[in-house]
Assembly symmetry: C2
Homo-oligomer: 395 residues x 2
């Protein structure tokens, strides 16, 4: 069978995803970016499901409008204002099937074959995969601990010129590095981008997962030009299995997202949207998020303490203040892929950092997930990794 050209582009890289699958039940896996399923509020969700059928009946099982269930959109519109100071009209906020769909539709909306999409360095693998499907050239922009470096960004924009059609950023407790952009860089970045007719795709998946409970202003808050697209999701602050996420954009852009969403799946799951809305009406999700963050803060502490104890001094990391990941760096001549091969044989898995570079790949880093693991397993897995590193670094 003859496939579209884009399929070849995807397949070239799909092996990288296989790292996520290097797992069996008895493995200690720091690979996946899953939230901790013990935190899911099962009883509250069950009560919501009952109430939804009781209250809405057939409507909850029928087709939904392409933009999503209005009740949920109203709640989220208020919440975006109250939590983040972001004011959207109702028709500037739609529901998507996970934030992944928002990424996919953004590629479809903005990217022609041969266009350039800019990323942080490193960046989120799901976004890289989604945008690669549109046959774009994916270019990493140098990124420091405060965010994308503006001088480097300017040089990149100059180099690629009109071919640049989008920039994707994940500014809060980033997947994979756990880094957050400073407030200053957020404002400066958006000021700078206002000079360009290029949409800024802000993936805010981890924005509420700060251990301190403090929230930063999203990039979108600093958008005066109407070029920011905000992608939010319940996957990390509630549960991923509903596949309910949202996307906010200025009206002119949103009208076009809607045409694409209609072609992609008509609408997201009606019943999942009603369940989410009911949960939000009858429960305090902020209290729930606070509980989750407490769990993750503890697990991060456990992993960081184990790393300090077990890893060789040459392996460095910056302890994150939120999110799900610790990003560790071996000396530059070492290859995390090689370490993974050895770790796999000892029953420990993680994802080598190379997977997260759209371009300019570095091989000596690794992403370690701490959200989804019992304390004793974290300590045991980090100890094994530390031993293997010691051997490998001495070779």
């Amino acid at each position: 069978m003859r496939y579209a050209d884009r399929v070849g582009w995807l397949e070239d890289r799909s092996l990288l995803n296989a790292f996520e699958l290097v797992e069996t039940d008895d493995m200690i896996s720091f690979s996946a970016g899953f939230p901790s399923s013990e935190t899911y509020p099962l009883d509250d969700i069950r009560r919501s499901m009952d109430r939804v059928i009781e209250t809405h009946g057939e409507a909850a099982l029928s087709y939904c409008s392409t933009s999503g269930y209005t009740g949920l959109r109203e709640i989220m519109r208020r919440r975006m204002k109250d939590k983040f100071g972001l004011e959207y009209d109702l028709d500037e906020l739609i529901i998507t099937s996970g934030s992944q769909q928002g990424l996919d539709m953004s590629g479809m909306l903005f990217v022609n074959q041969g266009d350039v999409v800019l990323f942080e360095s490193p960046s989120y693998l799901g976004a890289v995969n989604a945008l690669r499907a549109y046959q774009a050239d994916l270019i990493s922009v140098p990124t420091d601990r405060e965010g994308i470096e503006l001088e480097a960004l300017e040089a990149t924009l100059k180099k690629w010129g009109d071919r640049v059609k989008m920039i994707y950023v994940n500014p809060d407790f980033q997947n994979p590095t756990g880094r957050s952009w400073s407030d200053r860089r957020r404002a400066d970045f958006m000021d700078f981008m206002a000079g360009y007719d290029i949409p800024v795709l802000e993936d805010a998946a981890y924005g509420e997962l700060g251990f301190s409970g403090n929230l930063q202003r999203p990039l979108s808050y600093y958008d005066k030009k109407g070029q920011a697209v905000y992608i939010g999701t319940f996957s990390k602050i509630f549960c991923p299995g509903l596949r309910v996420a949202w996307l906010c954009a200025p009206r002119e852009i949103m009208d076009r997202y809607l045409v694409l969403k209609n072609a992609a799946d008509l609408s997201s799951s009606t019943i999942a949207q009603f369940q989410m809305a009911d949960y939000l009406e009858h429960n305090d999700i902020d209290a729930h998020i606070k509980d989750i963050c407490e769990v993750y803060r503890h697990r991060c502490d456990v992993m960081a303490e184990a790393i300090d104890r077990e890893f060789p001094k040459e392996v460095t990391y910056v302890k994150p203040k939120g999110g799900l990941f610790i990003w560790a760096e071996m000396p530059e001549d070492k290859d995390a892929g090689e370490l993974l091969m050895r770790a796999g044989r000892e029953g420990v898995a993680f994802i080598p950092g190379a997977s997260f570079y759209p371009s300019g790949i570095k091989n000596n880093e690794m992403r370690l997930n701490f959200s989804n693991m019992k304390d004793e397993d974290t300590r045991k897995g980090i100890k094994i990794l530390g031993q293997l590193m010691r051997e490998y670094l001495n070779e």
Copy 2:
């Protein structure tokens, strides 16, 4: 903002979709293709939702594998064999977010810009929209009451040559015409297509909605070459609000669908898949489908009787034996769009046939949905349409 070229292609046609929206609550609308929501088994669904949380707990709220929940896929694999004689391996059947996602991914998988996709004449608007997004030339192949005409198909394939990358068909009680392909044509068509390296996308959304309860063999049953892709959905035989559908394809093709599905939305709603599986395990969906078909058979009778009584003799139709639609034809010089304008003012809506032609548009036809309307409203709406037709035909 600069958009991808495909956005322009979509927008050119998106006005057509507006016809679906020419509706207010007090309108009599024959427009939408919705199933009848009174048939949704609310109590059974509520019991399933409770059991799912009880039995599966957090697993029902976590990420699902990209191919879908194995429990549901096993059930559907068995059902495809038992009902249709279609034997698939487990890894040849995946769950999609509505059948619309299967259509969208098929465009992504097979279609480059400038390729040709073939359709019946007329064809399903959702498929036309999904494939237009991939900037294909959409070509209608002449279609008679038994299915696509093979001589015309041969001529079309000869004309467009290697540019043809897919053929999309909806062989059972088609949307919009209500026509079903004959068994003979199904077999002959697949024999013929075996001479070409072109995938056949079979949309079987209405396959179980025959009023007699008899099932025809799908096109895929006659596929000896491994070129058929089968798309099924629960939207019409159960309810659309879960957005659970399935797609079957030979392993080689399916591997590539999975890469695309992962990029599009990671996975479909976990909880919706568990709910669907639980319903199928604890209830007799065949009995449920029989009940639905009885409702639709009755509503079709009501509409057909009203048409026979109210429409001018020059307006013709063939009474369908299943599905949701009656397709009516005015004399060739008349425009159903003009009739719709007048009908809208009298509080009646339908969809003009022109919307359903990928190419070679005809303007004198209309699609009338009968599944979603009370008997008295159907009679009243058809009476109004009949009066308006009489006036219009006399001009």
